[in-house]
Symmetry: C2
Subunit: 224 residues, 2 copies
DNA sequence: TAGATTGTTAATCGATTAACAATC
DNA sequence: TAGATTGTTAATCGATTAACAATC
């Protein structure tokens, strides 16, 4: 495996977009693609696409572009999506269920192998073919199965406790869906999937085009 | 209402964090807070917090700080969270259910009033006390109820069709959870809540600290 | 060869951070 | 008054964009 380079968060977030596009291009039978073509699809600057691809270590051919198939492989390897990481999910509520039911995570390097909850009424049931286990059993299982990824879908007030338990259980990367600021020790990776942030951008932009009474006062604004 | 200023996406995404903190400070009975105190909680630069608050139009008092209660009101107003926008959700699958079941959206300026699906088996049922209606009924209802926000939780291949339907129905802002690149006309606001982007950052960071065999090779890295 | 595209270096732009005056 | 904090202007940093040489 080639040495992973340090890459900006912005670049990392664009790579999945390219990946989706490339996979549909492959389905269409296209063998090569240029940065310009990719850029057009997303309204990005072609140089930005080139830099992003360069960051993954992908190499193109002048006048031809990048081979779609090897580019997909390269990006997946760079993102750690080539072989799936096993993960534990804590919090078998609505969001937990939604994630457990999401079929495509294996494509994205994620394999949720079990769910945990402290509610004994939920324990023992199965959600989308994954067992719901008592939260207290997480530490032993995580260590024995060498689980590196933990997903948090509990209410905000319990999130820090779950983080501490996960860290003590050897989990190295935490994907947090709870709207709570979490403290983690050095060396642990925390990624917040905060819906409220995305919603804030949406509603703020909406208020800009709405008048006080909810009527449209201006429709110049366009977000892409 | 004061004139909303143009503000960076980064600032907009930090505001909900401040809001959560402020609400817990208010619960604790604190009447004022300084930018430095807020910054410490999130490990941000105090000047950044000050600029963020300034962008909302909030005014502080030298040597004292900002009044917690009025700051919350100011931020909410700026984000458009002071009175909730009615929204329609399309796609009564797992993610749709999870969003319908999320109790706190009214705090975040969002009120999902109905769900739509093209699957007639789902139509007529109720999910978290909201009716599931036939997708074909969306245009008329959206116009009649002056719905401005649409939420998309359908599979990727149907997302563009739903966007087009929403736009034709007078919906101005779209919150998209489908992993598909969507085309929208000028003047329509599109906000993508893409889980895969967040996941990409997580797994890439994880591969950096994992060796090829999945063993930890380095634990220097820390993301906050 | 000609020209499209890659790869790379330089310029621009915007966000973050630093410095400092004004204020209560 | 003294000093912490706001508000504002300047400097820095990093990402994006532009320019251009190398390549097939």
């Amino acid at each position: 495996m080639s040495q992973p380079r340090v890459v900006s968060r912005s670049t990392l977030k664009r790579l999945p977009l390219y990946l989706h596009l490339l996979e549909s291009l492959i389905d269409q039978g296209l063998q090569t693609v240029s940065c310009t073509q990719i850029a057009e699809k997303f309204d990005f600057d072609p140089t930005q696409v080139r830099k992003d691809l360069e960051a993954t270590g992908a190499v193109g051919v002048a006048r031809v572009g990048f081979r779609t198939v090897s580019l997909v492989i390269r990006i997946k390897e760079f993102l750690g999506w080539n072989n799936a990481h096993d993960a534990f999910l804590v919090g078998a509520g609505n969001m937990g269920k939604a994630l457990l039911g999401y079929k495509d995570f294996d494509k994205y390097g994620l394999n949720i192998v079990a769910a945990f909850d402290k509610d004994t009424r939920k324990v023992g049931s199965r959600i989308f073919n994954r067992e719901v286990l008592l939260l207290a059993k997480l530490p032993n299982l995580a260590k024995r199965m060498h689980i590196n990824i933990g997903i948090i879908t509990v209410p905000a007030e319990y999130a820090q406790g779950v983080v501490d338990l996960m860290v003590a259980s050897g989990i190295k990367a935490i994907w947090n869906f709870a709207p709570a600021p979490l403290k983690i020790p050095e060396g642990i990776i925390l990624e917040n999937a905060r819906l409220t942030q995305s919603l804030a951008v949406l509603t703020n932009n909406l208020t800009k085009i709405l008048g006080e009474d909810g009527e449209i006062i201006e429709v110049e604004y366009c977000r892409r």
